[in-house]
């Protein structure tokens, strides 16, 4: 408001800008102007203060728990992690106890998490690839309706399906095994997987597929030689999504695995510990980071694909 009413002569503004850019190679003019605008923005102390404040609130809680996980049990109980500089004793004992101690044995649950996650990522991809291929490149009656129906299923909250599914599994005698968790995660993932892969397949120029068909290529050839190389980024972004979702899931695992040592993943065990040993922070902090480290590595190394997946509108609940 104040800016608009201020009698700013537009020429002077323009002059200032031009004067700035002419000193540098014209090729970089635009980037320079952007950088200039950026420094102007940051030079306001208030805006940088807000940005820094947000960044601090978003990192300090995690950082605090990380420090705590390396402090001896007696220290954790009597002083805050921020007193570390005055009392710098660190230990790996908490991790030792959390992973292999008989009361927690998170190592077993870690194995369960891995065993649950890999098939729960690969199975839906293998199913969805063929389904998306049919929906995108084979002309048949009712194709559009079928695609919309599968797409619409994304909105069904999984809570609606849990109890009937569970009783079905019980009657088949496979309840409490890895199979029901793999199956359930695969089912819940399919609508999203098909949606993402279908959209990417549709973006591939039809002429490519047509040309391959003219050359007499069958489905296998089209699939592996024309489509797959172009689909890798889409598959990667869905895979990361599904990986994080399954690894971090609590509800599905809790419903279908219960607390069993044989199948329950880390999240279930951690949730239990938080309830029964809520004050034993040496176990909880180390346990939280044992569960955290895998998704963190996956996420940081493949962030590019993850962001691309997000922007493709792929969000699941």
């Amino acid at each position: 408001m104040t800016n608009a009413s201020a009698p700013l002569p537009p020429t002077s503004l323009l002059d200032a800008d031009e004067g700035d850019t002419t000193r540098k190679p014209s090729r970089l003019a635009r980037a320079d102007r952007r950088a200039a605008a950026a420094t102007k923005k940051l030079s306001s102390p208030w805006t940088s203060l807000i940005a820094i404040l947000i960044a601090v609130v978003w990192t300090v809680p995690t950082f605090g728990l990380l420090i705590t996980s390396f402090r001896p049990r007696s220290e954790i109980r009597t002083s805050g992690w921020w007193t570390l500089p005055w009392n710098p004793t660190l230990t790996l004992e908490n991790y030792q106890e959390a992973l292999f101690g008989s009361s927690t044995s998170l190592a077993t649950y870690f194995v369960n998490s891995v065993v649950i996650t890999l098939p729960a990522v690969i199975i839906p991809i293998s199913l969805a690839l063929l389904a998306a291929y049919a929906l995108a490149w084979i002309d048949f009656k009712g194709r559009a309706i079928l695609f919309v129906a599968i797409f619409a299923l994304q909105v069904v909250p999984i809570q609606v399906t849990l109890i009937p599914l569970l009783s079905q599994y019980v009657s088949w005698g496979i309840a409490g095994s890895f199979w029901v968790i793999w199956l359930s995660h695969s089912i819940f993932a399919l609508p999203l997987a098909i949606y993402i892969l279908h959209n990417f397949m549709k973006d591939i120029p039809p002429s490519l597929v047509e040309a391959a068909r003219m050359d007499g290529a069958g489905h296998v050839k089209i699939f592996f030689q024309v489509l797959m190389p172009l689909l890798t980024p889409a598959i990667a972004s869905f895979a990361i999504f599904q990986f994080l979702w399954v690894w971090n899931d609590l509800l599905v695992a809790l419903t279908f695995a219960g607390g069993s040592t044989d199948v329950a993943p880390l999240t279930v065990r951690l949730g239990e510990l938080s309830g029964t040993r809520g004050s034993q922070w040496q176990l909880l902090s180390a346990g939280a980071f044992i569960a955290l480290v895998v998704p963190l590595i996956v996420f940081l190394s493949l962030q590019r694909y993850f962001v691309r997946g997000l922007l493709a509108g792929s969000v699941k609940g």
Binding site: N3, K41, I76, V115, A134, L162, G173, I187
Partner: protein, 329 residues
């Protein structure tokens, strides 16, 4: 046969995992190659082969259970006697469930709005600064953490020690209160504010998502628009209000509705931090307690259906807004 179902040792578990992967990938591969081999097959065979497995999965795992749950919600706790809408009446009238519904409304209103606001402000502030990618990664990191992990992180921040003698606070939030000369506070126990401290955790997780999507939308605003606005004398807050926000409106709608849907189904945070005690329960958590703890199958099913019904207006709004923005374009 039991070998293929239950595994106890680590080696056995991994072996079973490989069996499962090879089984599914093998079947899908066999279908693809099999249909390719038969040169002249009617189209419906091809479609059935490629889409069939998926349709069986989806109908078995989503459509049929969904319909079944709707039916169950009209029966009593054992599923034997038809009770009409009694379960829904219970869910909407009993005091306990009114708290649950009130909490759910608070979550669904506050989390999307605040997470989006924080994400948007942050995206604008760090846009095109020198540390942009690092700054964005910091906010984005909570997205990769499980809700259980995030709950533990924040439970530790909220940790409370009674204020007596020389006992030191070990939770950061209470230590800050003490530094400010205030009394330590039971963040997770004291009603009704404890719900807000749980909501803060969800905002902490979702702001990164909002920030990422909105940041991409901001970068997509054509340069000539911002340039022209700048020549017209728009800066700072004015630029934000009159140029940035209107230009990214479709992205804002997507972000808010997506977060709202995710929030509606939040379960892990409530379970890990308070176990639904102290009047912090929400519909998604109450569904779990009623179905699996209280053995009230009918009531649990009704709560699941309510969850489903609550999602629908959000989606309708989303679709309508997207249509509108496409018309304008």
């Amino acid at each position: 046969m039991d070998w293929f179902i239950h595994a106890e040792s680590t080696g056995h578990k991994f072996a079973l995992m490989l069996v499962a992967i090879l089984l599914f990938v093998g079947v899908m591969g066999a279908i693809l190659f099999g249909i390719d081999k038969l040169k002249k097959v009617p189209i419906w065979v091809v479609v059935a082969g490629f889409l069939g497995p998926t349709l069986i999965f989806v109908v078995f795992g989503l459509v049929y259970p969904g319909l079944n749950t709707i039916k169950m919600s009209l029966y009593d706790s054992r599923g034997n006697n038809f009770v009409g809408l009694d379960n829904y009446v219970t869910a909407f009238t009993q005091d306990q469930f009114q708290t649950v519904l009130r909490n759910t409304m608070l979550w669904v209103v506050l989390v999307p709005l605040l997470a989006t606001a924080i994400g948007l402000v942050y995206a604008v502030l760090v846009d095109r600064t020198r540390y942009e990618s690092l700054a964005k990664t910091l906010i984005f990191l909570p997205m990769s953490i499980s809700l259980v992990g995030a709950s533990i992180i924040w439970k530790f921040v909220y940790e409370y020690k009674p204020d007596q003698g020389n006992i030191q606070q070990i939770g950061l939030a209470n230590q800050i209160l003490v530094w400010l000369g205030l009394d330590p506070y039971q963040f997770l126990l004291n009603q009704p504010w404890n719900t807000f401290f749980l909501i803060a955790v969800m905002i902490w997780i979702q702001a990164g998502f909002a920030m990422t999507v909105l940041s991409a939308a901001i970068k997509a605003i054509p340069d000539d628009i911002t340039e022209a606005a700048r020549l017209d004398g728009l800066h700072g807050v004015g630029m934000f209000r009159f140029i940035t926000v209107p230009s990214i409106r479709p992205a804002l709608v997507v972000v808010i509705t997506t977060i709202a849907m995710g929030t509606l189904k939040v379960f892990d945070i409530v379970r890990t931090m308070t176990g639904g005690n102290f009047n912090t329960s929400v519909v998604a958590y109450e569904f779990y307690t009623q179905s699996f703890r209280a053995q009230q199958a009918g009531l649990g099913a009704a709560l699941a259906v309510i969850l489903f019904v609550l999602v629908i207006p959000i989606i309708v709004y989303n679709v309508r807004q997207l249509r509108l923005s496409e018309e304008i374009r």
